[in-house]
């Protein structure tokens, strides 16, 4: 049981993620999470104003079902399969975060400094989360995919465009983590 409650190893987790992608291919679909954002925009009626969202969102119901399952999985794993040993990151990372006033994990998935409910009372913290979301939503659609669509699905199919996108992900991520984040947090 310990094996389930503790952090899952990278080799088992990576293997299962690979199988998830392959199982969606076997079911005649593909592994790509960011397309759901477009589907949700379409569902909300954006197709009436912008052609990009005018498509039959019902053809994407299967992917919304994956989302629903993922949300349920997140709930079950967080509430029933976790313990205090989780998220034991590098002590050096913890020390660096402390200098930026970001709390240590101690079993939590997310830092309170950025994600606790107090955020709703801080315009700056709200803005950080919304702007981060805008970059993710805009960037993934512009690049035609996110971590699942390019890094996992695309690289698995040896796609050069996906390699370019993943290189972009890391350039952007490194710039944010090393140069921008220390200035704004």
């Amino acid at each position: 049981m310990e094996l389930i409650y503790h952090t899952w190893s990278w080799y088992i987790s990576g293997f299962i993620i690979g199988l998830i992608m392959l199982s969606l291919i076997y079911f005649g679909k593909y592994f790509g999470m960011s397309s759901n954002l477009r589907t949700l925009c379409s569902l909300a009626g954006a197709g009436k104003k912008v052609a990009f969202f005018s498509f039959d969102w019902k053809s994407q119901r299967w992917n919304l079902a994956v989302v629903a399952g993922a949300m349920l999985g997140g709930f079950v794993a967080t509430h029933y399969l976790s313990d205090a040993s989780n998220v034991s990151i590098n002590p050096k990372t913890i020390a660096e975060l402390q200098m930026m006033n970001i709390d240590a994990p101690q079993g939590k998935l997310m830092p309170d400094a950025l994600f606790s409910k107090d955020v709703f009372e801080s315009p700056k913290a709200i803005l950080i989360l919304i702007i981060g979301g805008i970059l993710i939503g805009f960037g993934s659609r512009y690049a035609g995919g996110c971590t699942s669509g390019h890094a996992i699905s695309g690289l698995s199919n040896l796609q050069l465009p996906s390699l370019k996108a993943v290189i972009g992900f890391f350039i952007g991520g490194l710039i944010m983590a090393h140069f921008i984040l220390p200035l704004i947090v």
């Binding site: 952090t7 899952w8 190893s9 990278w10 987790s13 993620i17 690979g18 998830i20 199982s23 291919i25 076997y26 079911f27 005649g28 759901n36 925009c41 299967w62 629903a68 399952g69 993922a70 949300m71 349920l72 997140g74 709930f75 967080t78 509430h79 976790s82 590098n90 998935l109 950025l114 994600f115 955020v119 989360l129 919304i130 702007i131 981060g132 979301g133 805008i134 993710i136 805009f138 960037g139 659609r141 512009y142 690049a143 996110c146 971590t147 699942s148 996992i152 698995s156 050069l160 465009p161 996108a165 972009g168 992900f169 890391f170 952007g172 991520g173 710039i175 944010m176 983590a177 921008i180």
Partner: protein, 137 residues
């Protein structure tokens, strides 16, 4: 129901991403600081599993569950959109520590503030839809 298998695949996806902590802001930060192999290991093994699986599918012309041949379309070739879009995505990924999959998983797990990230992601997707024809691809 036809959708049950997709809910089940999603369910396993949500559990694995949570239990591997790939949904954790901390793990993404640690990855971008090169202070842990964990996230790199996950991505590498997932891709390796995928490469082997897809090679087997192609070599033996495997069929999908309905008996139709499996055909995985190539990505359209270009550079600007992938690099530029990728960089913009990466900036957001490292800022809020979650990509589209984890956004949904974390909301399901009860992190209500991540709804703000989802809201932003929908706005960002909408902005792309509006600007699409004016952007270099």
């Amino acid at each position: 129901m036809k959708l049950v298998k997709f809910i089940l695949v999603g369910f396993i996806f949500g559990i694995v991403l949570t239990k591997s902590e790939a949904v954790s802001w901390y793990r993404i930060y640690e990855m971008f600081q090169f202070q842990s192999f964990h996230m790199y290991g996950i991505i590498m093994v997932a891709v390796l599993t995928g490469i082997i699986g897809i090679q087997i599918i192609k070599k033996y012309n495997l069929k999908d569950y309905s008996g139709a041949p499996i055909c995985i379309p190539d990505k359209e070739s270009s550079t600007v959109r992938y690099l530029l879009g990728g960089v913009i995505f990466g900036l957001g990924w490292a800022l809020v520590g979650s990509c589209p999959g984890p956004i949904f998983i974390l909301i399901g797990a009860g992190f209500t503030t991540v709804i703000l990230v989802l809201l932003g992601a929908l706005i960002g997707t909408f902005i792309y839809g509006v600007l699409k024809d004016k952007l270099p691809h």
